[in-house]
Amino acid sequence: MTVGSTTFKQLHLQGVRREFDAFTALKGLDLTVERGEFIALLGPSGCGKTTALNCIAGLLPVSGGRIMLDDRRVDVLRPEERGFGMVFQNYALFPHMTVRKNIGFGLRMRGVPKPELEKRVDAALAAVRLESQAEKLPGQLSGGQQQRVAIARAIVVEPPLVLMDEPLSNLDAKLRLEMRQEIRRIHQSLGSTTIYVTHDQEEALSLADRIVVLRDGAIRQVGTPAELYALPAHLDVADFMGFRNRVNGELVGMEGEDALLDIEGTVIRGRMRAASAGKAAVAAIRPDDLEPTGTDTGIPVRVEAVEYRGRGFHGVGVTPSGTELHFSSPHPLERGTAIRLGADAGRVLVFGDAR
């Protein structure tokens, strides 16, 4: 009945659509996932990332398009026939079964003989380091332990594809960091293919081989963490990647690849990322890259607040027109001081208004 642990080369999403009554949650998703890849679906809440995952898992029927495993069509199969492993946001452990029974459930449903089942469950328990908790009920475990059981339960059947729906969002910060490494380690040791849904860009950057940024049910950008971090293609992707400062300006010229942008009377240089129809454009700069120039060039601001951040200072300044700018400074600054801020041309991204 089940597809089981068949291997595949590529998973294709071809124009996958999903509609809820009048609302379109997914507007035709096209994506190819290579075997062994760790893909993160990243986006704000309501962007359709969980819908996409549920469509792949078969928990939601697609409204259009196809999901292919190499040349086999899987979107017409029921979830129990797809054989994908899934880790749920609330773990969804069976509360009436022990840890061992929970992990063995998928194998039992596949009719794996008892001795082999026990052996594989033991191996899975060892992989998530829960050997000593095997006979407990899920309710007796901590959140991190429950999460590890959920992961073990999903991977013990050696699924061709592991789907994870914000598996760390219910954990505290320290545990989240630990589990992140654990997930990466398990992924690498099993060589499984993983699709991981998250709204946390740090999680996506640290875990994924490739990140798919979703917004309003459509893909905004696909790339490696380094590509997305350095060169986001859209303003909203940049926003997600930590480009906290967004300043409106006017394009006054180009010099090679660099755009010259007039911001409140000061011309700054930046990399052109998205063309503009008119002259209006937006400069996106990370707070870490924006620093006091110490000269009389740069964007003039009045310092509003400065806080100590260990390695340096984080400041908030306000331009004459009232735009708030976040910047970093190696030395403390007095509130109310007038300074000028600047950044390397390579660290300033200029987006035209034709987003």
Partner: protein, 300 residues
């Protein structure tokens, strides 16, 4: 010695020690409730119990001896069981699949409102409706005769099946609403998890839903059973109160208001309570064999 006394004086006060055990000013709020239970349940119960040991013949167990030696009396226990048991079981078996369908509906409230109506109408009205509907000139017989399935009217009423149908009609909404609340209390992601792990619909029901539902279904069974066991109006109105549906409450009623033997009536009521208690204890005892924690995806 005096230092010891001082040490004690510095310890927690009586109020603090009581609060540590969960007793404080707010605990007084249960008093009206306790008074109500004492006055309206415990006292009448004990009064009836005492009364049942003061029969007309003067002996202590005279009423009980009379009850268990007269088949016309002790037979009512089994006649009532024969009605209440299958009715409760049938109601539960119908309620489960419907509850599983209804949990996916969006307009649950409309349906539940419709279902609450028979409860509010009461058994007498339902029994009267049945008298017309199943009567010789009622819709039921007319329709069956019109399509040629019957040549002469059948009599469903005035017997076992009349009471059976009336108990199903009045008992089902109650059973269903309780069952629905237990079914919807199960985290839907558990079903999704079972599906992604390769469990088909039958396996999902058997392995996940049923074990989590059993404790709730046991409670539902007990409450529905107790309701059905105390049937009176429909056993008289649409049943055969002299014979096939001479249920235990009829025996108690006759003792109290036809023979004016309140002592005997109390004894019958006590026996009735004991039978119900026995069934409830047996069912709840079986329940303890199953998992009884929260039926949601456990979270730390």
């Amino acid at each position: 010695m005096s230092t010891v006394m001082e040490g004690r004086a510095e310890g927690p006060t009586l109020r603090q020690r009581l609060a540590a055990r969960g007793i404080d000013g707010a605990t007084l709020l249960v008093l009206p409730c306790v008074a109500l239970i004492l006055g309206l349940f415990i006292y009448p119960f004990l009064y009836g119990l005492m009364l049942s040991f003061e029969p007309k013949d003067g002996s202590l167990f005279g009423n009980y001896a009379r009850f268990f030696s007269d088949p016309f009396l002790y037979g009512t226990i089994f006649k009532t069981l024969r009605l209440a048991f299958p009715v409760t079981l049938l109601n539960l078996l119908i309620a489960i699949p419907i509850a599983f369908r209804v949990r996916l509906l969006r307009r649950q409230r409309l349906l539940t409102t419709l279902l609450v109506l028979p409860i509010t109408l009461g058994t007498v009205l339902v029994a009267e409706g049945m008298l017309f509907y199943f009567g010789p000139q009622g819709w039921f017989n007319r329709a069956l005769m019109a399509v040629g399935l019957l040549s002469t009217p059948v009599s469903v009423l005035n017997g076992y099946w009349g009471v059976f149908i009336s108990l199903v009609l009045t008992g089902f909404p109650f059973t269903f609403l309780l069952t629905l609340s237990y079914v919807t209390g199960i985290d839907p992601s558990l079903e999704n998890a079972a599906a992604t792990l390769g469990a088909g619909p039958a396996a999902r029901f058997r392995e996940v839903f049923l074990p989590l539902l059993v404790p709730g279904l046991a409670i539902t069974f007990c409450l529905s059973f107790v309701q059905a066991y105390s049937v009176l109006p429909s056993a008289v109105l649409v049943g055969d109160p002299a014979n096939a549906t001479r249920v235990i409450s009829i025996a108690a009623y006759q003792a109290a208001f036809e023979e004016y033997d309140y002592s005997m009536a109390s004894a019958i009521a006590m026996i009735m309570g004991a039978v119900q208690l026995l069934v409830v204890v047996a069912v709840l005892g079986c329940r303890s064999l199953f998992y009884r924690g929260p039926a949601a995806g456990a979270k730390g």
